[in-house]
Subunit: 258 residues, 2 copies
DNA sequence: ACTGTCATTCCGCATCGTGGAACGAGCTGT
DNA sequence: ACAGCTCGTTCCACGATGCGGAATGACAGT
């Protein structure tokens, strides 16, 4: 038959993960019939796959007989996240050494950006960004640079979904204005957040290439230390770190959003 | 044959998730031969399964040809987490309404506790616990109540693995002393953290029943507001909320630790 | 350059998963 | 309260799918 050889993918596995993602996309409880409609698989097949996942705790069945993603996935996700952080650490450390400000690795997560790794600067006054924290897209360097990688329609959708609250006087709160900036960001290959999330804090971010990686790295610090003149010096350093990370991660498999 | 009928589990799926967890347990890059040794499966079989996972981005292959958990799992995990938070929200809100202090849902994650949902109190002075944050087991109410659910050997192991740093003057830093407290906690069905993580902050926690759920809910606030006399009033409220949550989640599939 | 280890590919076999159809529980509308 | 319907669950025989032992190829250490 076909599966054992060089062909790509174990069918049942592929299908199971397709179902998991459909469940994530649905954003809540999903009926098995809906999964059947969305996936084109037989309900019987879906039931068997989902039952297996339930048995292992990756999917939970509610009293309503509908299904949702299970808590076991949280463990795996957290672990994967911590692992990514480990790979990123040396690259971020190098950035901190070279630039002297806190360096972050962030990934797109739905309509937010989540910080997955961070190396703090040695200065006593520095950024306090908790790893795992989710922040808005419109007011951060990493958010803007990630938005610039997406098709404009998707970018607008995410901005509307997540909202654009004014964090400071300088925050851009108009979707159209932000969308107009994105082509330039994509073109120059980096984005700057100039006190748009927190007054006096500047942040320079570049995307991590390699497919629709949905990843970005940045350095951020007080505008007094991280002057505008520092940006052109920081960008190539960031870009080479991003390239190194991308190479190390190999080919991508990530997906922008849900 | 056996698989199609009422038997439990699709073999290839079961195996794939077993491999994912072995990779998580390994704590980093894993060679395929190590997976074979740990799982007892044929390398050929493992290779095919892992290749499928790599193709979908759930596993990443490093230049060293070893494998690690992939970023796509972060998305699923975050999603599952948010989903859990959504279910828990109404129950936590009810607790905040009744007790007036911040309510949390936490789960065991390796040798730490991770907060997966939170409803802040209305007071302006309140706990600042970021969802997704991982804290130590020994100095939190949720940590202690979760430890009390585990076999003593496992509890000790987790304490040693995670360490027991002194966060305040009152933090218990001796494993044996903490282990001695656990039976009483398991017996009374709740744990109190009395300024052991942060001076002046008290926290009451109960487990979420339903198998080795590895879940707990808590309320926490300043000792001045959340007096010791408030504990006996809070406990039954917490327990009924925990019971309601457990019922809603149905039967469990979670696993204590790695 | 040689050797041992380890990931990867090949291939025949039968195990395992598949999906159509029957069953039964739960919900809606009347 | 009853009937009708929808939707999740179970059953079954077919054959496609995944299995694993062994061959191949890539690497690192000596």
């Amino acid at each position: 038959m076909a599966a054992g050889g060089s062909a790509e993918g174990v069918q049942s596995l592929d299908r199971a993960f397709l179902l998991l993602e459909l469940m994530a996309d649905a954003g809540g409880e999903v009926a098995i019939s809906r999964l059947a409609a969305d996936s084109g698989l037989a309900v019987s097949t879906i039931h068997r796959l989902v039952r297996t996942l339930v048995g292992r705790g990756y999917v939970r069945q509610l009293p309503s007989r509908r299904y949702v993603l299970g808590p076991r996935l949280i463990h795996l996700g957290e672990f994967a996240s911590r692992m990514l952080a480990t790979w990123a650490q040396p690259h971020l450390t190098r950035l901190v050494d070279a630039i002297g400000e806190t360096a972050n690795l962030a990934m797109l997560d739905g309509d937010r950006v989540v910080y997955v790794a961070q190396v703090p600067s040695r200065h006593s006054m520095r950024m306090f960004t908790e790893v795992g924290r989710r922040v808005h897209l419109h007011c951060t360097g990493v958010g803007k640079v990630l938005l610039a990688q997406l098709p404009p329609g998707t970018a607008r959708e995410l901005l509307v979904q997540g909202g654009m609250p004014a964090r400071t006087e300088l925050t851009v709160t108009d979707p159209d204005e932000l969308l107009r900036q994105l082509p330039a960001i994509a073109d120059q290959g980096y984005a700057v957040d100039d006190g748009e999330q927190e007054t006096g804090v500047r942040c320079v971010a570049v995307p991590v290439p390699g497919g629709a990686a949905a990843g970005a790295i940045s350095v951020s610090g007080p505008a007094g230390r991280l002057g505008l003149d520092a940006v052109p010096r920081a960008v190539p350093l960031l870009q080479s770190a991003a390239a190194a990370l991308a190479t190390e991660l190999g080919r991508d498999g990530g997906r922008p959003a849900g």
